[in-house]
Symmetry: C2
Subunit: 440 residues, 2 copies
């Protein structure tokens, strides 16, 4: 029922004040309790996961591998929850403080966004990562996992909710949805859900982006490229390109296009072809590439195809600028890399390529919240608005201006004889002065 | 023609690299040249404005007052352009720097968003404010002003483009649209326009928000409230409420609802009623208010009405929490204020009210980019995503991750025998190390 699910959304929204006003010690303690609860509930969780795996018997092995929630994954998830718990409090940070006039102090502080709507793939460990980031940042969470994981997700959310009983987060700061219709209702809940973070297939993410008025954070495509410059160390280039293609071919930060400067193509391509052949990678090349190594011809469509598989298209270029132009036409603005020893080419590439992450002399696979040191991530954004690249706690925060005066009115600062503002920047950090009266 | 206007959008987008790669001295110099050019073109601009004013002869006086572009407004605009020019460079700020491992350095830097689509009311000085903020922040601009100002806007943009001739910003980083159909095409230009900032009537802004997949920054409604607490200085409360209602009744940061704690209603309301009567403000009160002062009865609809006029609805409450609850139901999350001498009530109000700006003991009219010391503003956002409250240069920036390595691959950091990341935070600020090779 529409009204039923909308009522549940409103109940979650009603928890936003309790979450945003909670103290960091309380949120840390609750995350610890959740971690302990998951350990205590391990058997029930594993049993639910076995049911999901049995139901998924006919699905491809990689899907089943992601779905499987093993003891190792539980231990890693619990370690991750404790790491998130220990992160500095993201709420109430004073981003800047400005004296507008005598007795008129402005502060900009960080506050939770409110209600996050999350849709994610059938990966139970992702649920725990997302839930811990939301709770640490004082956000309420409405989430829907891939339906293959339905029993595991239920067991996880039930365990989390049991651990929350009696705390500041009671009842229901977290709500699990289970059907496609629930998701459709979620997309219509503007004014209740503040931000939607979709993960999953390109098609699904694009569907979400095109069917809601709620702001969406994430990425549909991960079409990443690597450019091997004229001044590249070609052995280093082979190692980086091989990792970027084969370390996890279905990941969004794997490369699909490889560009190589004509000046090093003769040296680089035979070594690269040998390495790719050993890893089972199919090469599709332009004419110049075909003249140097044995490969299939690349079609125009190849340059825009996210294979998510052991296939790569290779193109030769005559300059760094040509590589940058090519990337600007074909990138999904996720992650693009240059391999070069020339600092000028490197800087030009890093400045001009308009992607969330721009790399030099390393694999594109580092584009990831954990590897960036964010603790964990809720997703990777290719939008330029709000948060870009891997999104950790910071992307779950918004800001609020606090202004405390002593009776000031705007008329004083207008017209002839207007009083001037002082506008003295008093820096950032420390406790909020404007919240000073509070006993927390 | 659709293809014609879309082609113009693409031409603007083609300028984004030149704008984002430009140096701050170049942008400052160009802003100075634009300021000088406007002075030189003053007569042509004033003549165009006279034509607009003649065509607008039948429009209401406030509309004509905003439309009029006088010598004083030109001088103020030029001073504002020079202030914006002198602001610190917003591009390339290192927001943080983290050593992931030996020879693997991550930086997060600020970069322009790209192409801003701006729709604004018939106020020629707004065009200059918006254009100078966009140029200073390295963003391209497609803009459409209220059609009453069409001749003035043309003259202003022609002057700006003349000043840009031969600079890094040639041709067309700024493009003026003139028809409603152009705006409709703008709303469909996802992938080309990165952010739309609409200003104008509530209905128009809501239309924009509901008819584009491009992120939108702004506010449709400005339903602001002021709460006079039991511990208020009632004289101070009268002064603040009077200013917040009457200083500029049609502004988004003026109040529509006034709440008063029952304990001070008897002392406060008669003074307030006298002040409002002298200013020509009509009062609509709940039953308790009607028992104390002479006023019209407020209906349920009044609490959700943005009058934009000399009308106020007044309600009594029994506690700070009741005031907070009432505000949470009726606010448009723009600006809400408390008047109190009690620091605990103040802190509770400031923490719990979920609005872009939350004030204590001053008029809501201070919610404004200039008054906040942002230099100028492109608008005020009630969205929680990206930028919230008055939006100056900072809201026109996004970020980019730069990672420079020395051949690192992800496989090294995975599985058994995995190398550990160092994740050492190296702070913020200074020149980007990863862009270090660049000669700028």
């Amino acid at each position: 029922m529409t009204s039923g699910i909308y009522g549940r959304f409103l109940q979650v929204k009603a928890m936003t004040t309790a979450l945003s006003a909670s103290s960091d010690p309380d949120r840390r303690a609750l995350l610890e309790r959740i971690a302990g609860g998951l350990l205590a509930d391990a058997d029930a969780i594993f049993e639910a996961n076995r049911t999901d795996l049995e139901n998924a018997a006919s699905l491809p092995a990689p899907v089943r591998a992601r779905l499987k929630f093993s003891r190792e994954k539980l231990d890693a998830s619990i370690a991750s929850i404790r790491e998130v718990a220990a992160l500095p409090d993201p709420i109430g940070r004073v981003l800047y403080r400005e004296k507008l006039d005598e007795g008129l102090l402005l502060e900009k502080i960080s506050v939770p966004i409110g209600v996050i709507g999350m849709v994610f793939e059938a990966r139970p460990d992702a649920l725990l990562q997302i839930a811990s980031l939301c709770l640490k940042s004082g956000n309420c969470l409405i989430l829907k996992g891939g339906s293959e994981a339905i029993n595991t997700n239920r067991a996880l959310v039930e365990s989390i909710r049991r651990s929350c009983a009696g705390s500041f987060a009671t009842p229901g700061w977290i709500e699990l949805l289970e059907t496609h219709d629930d998701v459709a209702q979620m997309l219509k809940a503007q004014g209740v859900i503040d931000l939607i973070i979709p993960r999953g297939s390109n098609r699904f993410v694009r569907y979400v982006m095109e069917n809601t008025l709620i702001p969406v954070l994430g990425h549909a495509d991960g079409l990443c490229s690597m450019y091997v410059d004229a001044a590249a160390d070609t052995d280093l280039a082979v190692a980086c390109a091989l990792d970027a293609k084969t370390n996890y071919p279905s990941a969004c930060n794997s490369i699909e296009n490889l560009l190589v400067h004509r000046a090093v193509a003769g040296e680089f391509l035979p070594k690269m072809a040998t390495a790719f052949a050993a890893a089972g990678v199919e090469i599709r090349g332009d004419e110049a590439v075909q003249a140097i190594i044995d490969c299939k011809p690349a079609t125009d469509a190849d340059w825009d195809t996210e294979y998510l598989d052991l296939i790569i298209s290779i193109k030769t270029v005559d300059s760094t600028d040509e590589a940058i132009d090519f990337i600007s036409k074909h990138t999904s603005h996720h992650t693009d890399a240059i391999i070069t020893r020339d600092p000028v080419a490197r800087a030009a590439f890093m400045r001009k390529v308009d992607s969330a992450s721009v790399f030099a002399n390393c694999s594109t696979r580092f584009a990831d919240g954990y590897r960036y040191g964010l603790g964990a991530e809720v997703g990777i954004s290719t939008s330029k608005i709000h948060a870009r690249g891997p999104v950790g706690l910071e992307g779950l925060m918004t800001t609020k201006y606090l202004l405390c005066g002593s009776g000031q009115v705007a008329a004083t600062y207008m017209g002839s004889g207007a009083r001037a503002f002082e506008h003295i920047n008093l820096g950032a950090g420390g406790e909020s002065v404007n919240l000073g009266g509070e006993k927390s």
